[in-house]
């Protein structure tokens, strides 16, 4: 369960995030939808506590993420934007490194790594160095190490960006599975179809503000647009510009 109340972030004179508030519930996939540069990544970075909001509150399962970032991080599994891997470590070593940092060790860690490798169907690549991995394979490794400590909340920053069709389907399948396990899944995207295909709840962000929040149906009603893409364009105030 994630609760965000009025967070704001400025870089110099640029306001990247300007009062964003929303809730993401357990057993639900919440989509953070917005055009490029809307403030999605900055919002997520504040949620997983590598950036501090200038003001506002972030609560992860009743933990104040601004005051106790590390405690919040133990409850979060994160796939950041551009998931950097270590090219000289194997997929399994990535999972184990992050698992150990979360305090898991021994047979418990081996067991967990095995489970994740099974779940993400990466048995063949598990003991190869990630240096030559394809984009899809790298995504799997980054996902696996994000989930190693069995987090209640999962944050995914544009997880399907640049993936081919099969890998995208695989990621969607995993996201649904995480929801069905009762987790709170929050994922960002600028792709309409992605969000409408997956999400139970959508938060639309434009220019650092939440412009709408609701189920896909609610958003259609709210804007009077049958098509979710038209609804998005209307909400994001993009009609003045070119087609996204």
């Amino acid at each position: 369960m994630i609760r965000v109340e009025g967070i704001r972030k400025r870089f110099g004179t640029v306001t990247a995030v300007d009062t964003v508030s929303f809730e993401a519930h357990d057993g639900t996939i919440t989509g953070l939808l917005g055009p490029n540069g809307a403030g999605k990544t900055t919002t997520l970075r504040m949620l997983y506590a590598v950036m501090r909001p200038d003001r506002g509150q972030i609560t992860i399962d009743s933990v104040d993420a601004v005051a106790s970032p590390q405690e919040a991080q133990t409850r979060l599994g994160v796939l950041p934007d551009g998931f950097g891997l270590y090219p000289r470590l194997t997929a399994r070593e990535h999972i184990e490194y992050f698992g150990e940092l979360h305090g898991i060790s021994g047979t418990q860690l081996q067991q967990r790594a095995h489970e994740l490798i099974e779940m993400l169907d990466m048995g063949e690549i598990a003991d190869r160095r990630t240096g030559g991995f394809s984009h899809g394979e790298r995504t799997k490794v980054a996902l696996a190490r994000a989930l190693v400590h069995d987090p209640q909340n999962v944050l995914l920053d544009e997880p399907t960006n640049g993936l081919d069709v099969m890998s995208t389907r695989a990621v969607r399948h995993i996201v649904r599975k995480l929801r069905d396990q009762g987790r709170c899944v929050l994922f960002s995207s600028h792709v309409m179809q992605e969000v409408s295909a997956l999400c139970d709840s959508i938060v639309v962000i434009a220019s650092g503000r939440v412009v709408a929040h609701g189920t896909p149906n609610e958003l259609r009603h709210q804007t009077g647009q049958d098509n979710l893409e038209d609804a998005f364009v209307a909400l994001a105030g993009l009609e003045r510009g070119e087609e996204p």
Binding site: A49, V50, M51, E71, V78, G84, G103, A146
Partner: protein
């Protein structure tokens, strides 16, 4: 977060960084190169000095017209290390072609003039622009002058005159730059090479795990793990310090084995690095490795890119070289204040240890504490940098 947990996490980060860098072939080779270059260079230079010394002592003198001066030839052959051989037909050409260092020419009228006690003319053909031939030509000149003086004295004695009267000056040459001293000067570079090995040995991990980690984009996911920033920085710092320390030990071991391959005893040089020195070397260099690794990590973290970090490392490496080169050329006496200067303190300690002098426990403690405190401060600064969003996201 308890201290125990933080320590465990530091160990986890350290282990990962060591494992990662051991798999980096190119970096590994550069470390191996840095560890061996010093001992190899020293060995090479020492061998040159020894060979030169050897050359000058054992001199082969080509003489044209040996039959014209049989007594002189016999006298020369009796001198230690001298061997007279028949000279080439064209002496000047042989010198120009560098097939000979020196050629002595005895003219046909040598014997006649000699018997008449007139100055018997001799020619030596040399190329004075050749430095490598100089020891040989000098030796030949001295031998001929010596022969001339001996014969002169004998002639005076037969005429009832004391030879002392015709020698108003008695010039004695004191050669300062003996081969032994030159060799000792080369050995003075050993402390510098040991310190440099520590510096270069830690460089790879210090830059790759900070600036490199950020450039690969793996820093952000790493920082999502629940650990304090000083935990990540400490793990990386200690990994770099460990690599530095291993490099120092390997270089020291190679230097310690140098005497096996060098004719040091022939040159009457006492040089030894043995087990009894090991404690002193570790005491001098161990804290320094902590300091250099912390300095490198801090500087690399400040750099905007991996490339920039490497450029800074190239500048930083000049610092350990300054006391090293100065010390090798103008041996510096140890003053108490030197132990309070990072880099300089360990260098002075090391020269003392290798020179067989005990700098005293206080010197170790002072130098060690200074290095350690400076290292901790730098790690704290780096941890602060790791908390700065500007640094983490390099914008």
């Amino acid at each position: 977060m308890t201290a125990g947990r933080s320590l465990r996490q530091i160990a986890i980060v350290l282990r990962k960084e060591v494992k990662d860098s051991l798999r980096d072939r190119r970096a590994l080779w550069s470390i191996v190169f840095s560890m061996t270059i010093g001992p190899v260079l020293i060995g090479f230079m020492m061998n040159r000095v020894a060979a030169r010394e050897h050359e000058a002592e054992r001199v082969r003198i080509p003489v044209v017209g040996t039959e014209n001066a049989p007594t002189l030839v016999e006298w020369l052959n009796q001198q230690a290390g001298v061997q007279v051989v028949a000279g080439p037909d064209d002496a000047e050409q042989a010198i120009r072609d560098r097939t000979e260092d020196v050629v002595v020419i005895v003219p046909k009228d040598f014997g006649e003039r000699f018997r008449q006690s007139r100055p018997a003319r001799l020619k030596i053909v040399v190329d004075n622009s050749r430095n490598d031939a100089r020891p040989t030509t000098e030796r030949v000149r001295r031998l001929l002058a010596q022969y001339s003086a001996e014969i002169g004295s004998l002639r005076l004695i037969t005429r009832g005159i004391s030879p002392v009267g015709v020698r108003p000056l008695d010039v004695e040459e004191v050669e300062v730059s003996t081969a032994q001293q030159r060799a000792a000067q080369i050995l003075n570079f050993i402390p510098m090479f040991i310190i440099m090995a520590g510096f270069i040995g830690g460089m790879q991990i210090a830059t790759d795990s900070t600036a490199g980690e950020r450039e690969r984009g793996s820093l952000e996911p790493l920082l999502v793990n629940p650990a304090a920033r000083f935990v990540f920085v400490s793990g990386k710092w200690l990994a770099a310090a460990l690599a530095a320390f291993v490099s120092v030990l390997v270089t020291t071991m190679l230097c310690a084995n140098l005497p096996r391959f060098l004719p040091l005893e022939d040159m009457d040089i006492r040089f030894r690095i043995g087990r009894e020195h090991l404690g002193g070397i570790i005491g001098a260099i161990g804290p320094m490795c902590l300091f250099t690794a912390a300095l490198q990590a801090a500087v690399a973290t400040l750099a905007r890119s991996f490339k920039e970090a490497q450029t800074y490392m190239g500048v930083l490496i000049l610092f350990p070289m300054i006391p090293g080169i100065m010390g090798a050329l103008y041996p510096i006496g140890a003053s108490a204040w030197m132990y309070f200067v990072p880099m300089l303190g360990p260098y002075v300690l090391l020269t003392n240890v290798l020179g067989g002098r005990d700098p005293g426990v206080a010197a170790y403690i002072n130098s060690g504490i200074v290095s350690f405190i400076a290292a901790i401060l730098l790690v704290k600064i780096t941890a602060m940098l790791f908390s700065s969003e500007r640094i983490i996201f390099a914008r």
